[in-house]
Amino acid sequence: MAELNYGLSELALEIRGMVREFAEARVKPVRAELDETGHFPTEILRELGKMDLMGLYIPTEYGGTFEGDSMPNLIAVEELSRICIGVSVSFAANGLGADPILLGASDEQKKKFLPALASGEKWAAYALTEPNAGSDAGSIRTTAVKKGDKYVLNGTKQWITNGGEADIYTVFAVTDKNRGARGVSCFIVEKGTPGFTFGKKENKLGIRASATRELIFEDCEVPAANLIGREGTGFIWAMKTFDVSRPGIAAQAVGLAQGALDEAVTYAKVREQFGKPIIANQGLSWMLADMATKVETARALTYATVQSIDRGVKDYSKFSAMCKVYASDVAMQVTTDAVQVFGGYGYMKEYPVEKMMRDAKILQIYEGTNQIQRDIIGLALNKEYGAVAKK
């Protein structure tokens, strides 16, 4: 198949081949069942760990294979997403959970927690959202009170991806309620810590294989050594994490949309009505053309953003938001159109496209709703053009 040359490294291409083969062989045969039953893809993640694919974003000094090129991990997410984003989010949420550690933790903390994540022996999760703190993440109410060489955590986190399945959680809690967002700190909390329990697994519209649970902290004592950075820096790690993780959501969107496009074109070539394949109808082929164009533009923006971050572009928050909002809107449109191409069959669970459409919706919601992304882009524009006007 013809493809653009994005200048991918040998490693990125190797990973693409490996994960594509893996997703076809191991994920495709079970994705409908995982969706139906809501079973967490434990075996799939274990196998990805054995294949050295869980540490693509972790530097080599901490047991991973990252040496400055973020594309291999991004492409692994994209290729898994092509087959099932319920699986890919369970894979990618490890990176999200580990990002505050990578960004803000001390060398000692990194050495303690990252190698087991890199090998896939342990899994991670990121815990910011609360029942009353969604888009307004600065208004979280979980508290952490210092007591000797411990912090005592109390509160509830909501909709935590990999909740209950992960071993290592990066948890945001208020250490100084008088300072608002500047009073938030980030802690590494290990599963099994007394006072740390899980709520029920949520029953969701899509990404049903992924585990989404409440985290409940009741007088949970966490070693002070597990504080990331200084007290009050938590919100900075939370936001910096999103700046680097949002292209990952975009990669999920690109992969999902590509998967839907693959299904739609293949079907349109074999489905015959009025004595000819339906792809021979201009109305339908133009629809497919628009879908393909959207997928490629979403991919191009996402790759360009990540490659720019790797090349040292500092001010990338706006672009991270752009690729997340754009690619996830594309995924929603393309998966909806894929169902349309399949017609009545597309609405049936025997075919994969209705699942893709259900799965796509979350991409417009999680890791900052698309309205929040547009806020970020708008704020950046306001700031950038303001500076120009002053000159």
Partner: protein, 262 residues
């Protein structure tokens, strides 16, 4: 423990044709793969390695230089050492001569506790080489193994049949031919693939393993291929369709009863 796994590079049989002039497989333009049953043998070895610390897995193949590809695949999955037995002298060997050649190479390695083979290769389908090598090496051989447990220098093996299985115990060393149902072969790891890329494979010659030239190659092979052909598709018979399954089942039962088959 030292485990030797013998593997074969085979054409992907989904696209194979036979040349009617020469009675040989047409290999041109056909993708080569690691024989699927050998993948199960390799997986069995790698799982034993994970279970028994200090185990070494050596993968051996005999074939042309390009057979190195299946050895690279094996390294990608976790094999510790590989041997490519490659020499003009081996060309045209049948199962007898191949078994002999492989056995000489295995004798040159550190003593093997276990020699594993796939049940059969999907090109020739003889299922003879595994037991043949075991015979040359004077080892007990259990064909059609689906499970193995090793303890105290002995192996307990499940040998499967269509209608059941036997549980057999044998001292080591022994040879097994492994079934597909034994396991699900793993895929190569990233670090394994990187190691495989760096692999500089030196072919091992017939002379290096001290093989007797009189027992090698086409001339030493007792097998003579008289004819290979694709069996003609079955014709005739009765086909019923388009009716309710219950009606068709009744009709089938009536017919079988009429012919006194049930």
């Amino acid at each position: 423990m030292h485990i030797v796994v013998c593997v074969k590079q085979v054409p992907n049989t989904t696209q194979v044709r036979i040349n009617p002039e020469t009675n040989t497989l047409v290999r041109d333009g056909v993708e080569s793969i690691l024989n699927p049953f050998d993948e199960n043998a390799l997986e069995m070895a790698l799982q034993l390695k994970e279970k028994h610390a200090g185990t070494k897995v050596t993968v051996l193949t005999m074939g042309p230089p390009q057979a190195a590809e299946v050895l690279k695949e094996a390294v990608g999955r976790g094999a510790d050492a590989v041997v490519l037995l490659c020499d003009r002298a081996f060309a045209g060997s049948d199962t007898w001569a191949t078994s002999y050649a492989l056995s000489t190479a295995i004798r040159k390695l550190e003593p093997a506790d276990l020699v594993l083979f796939g049940k059969q290769a999907i090109d020739g389908d003889t299922a003879q080489v595994g037991p043949g090598v075991a015979d040359w090496l004077g080892m007990p051989c259990i064909a059609y193994a689906r499970k193995i447990e090793i303890a105290d220098g002995r192996a307990v093996v499940e040998r499967a049949f269509e209608d059941g299985y036997e549980k057999l115990e044998t001292p080591l060393p022994c040879a097994l031919t492994v079934l597909k149902e034994a396991n699900v072969p793993r895929m190569a790891s990233l670090r394994g693939k990187m190691a495989a890329k760096k692999l500089a494979l030196q072919p091992t010659t017939a002379e290096a393993v001290g093989a007797d030239p009189a027992k090698l190659g086409l001339n030493a092979s007792p097998t003579r291929v008289v004819k290979i052909f694709s069996p003609p598709p079955k014709t005739g018979g009765v086909k019923w369709q388009g009716e309710e399954p219950a009606v068709l089942a009744q009709r089938l039962a009536d017919l079988l009863r009429e012919r006194k088959l049930i």
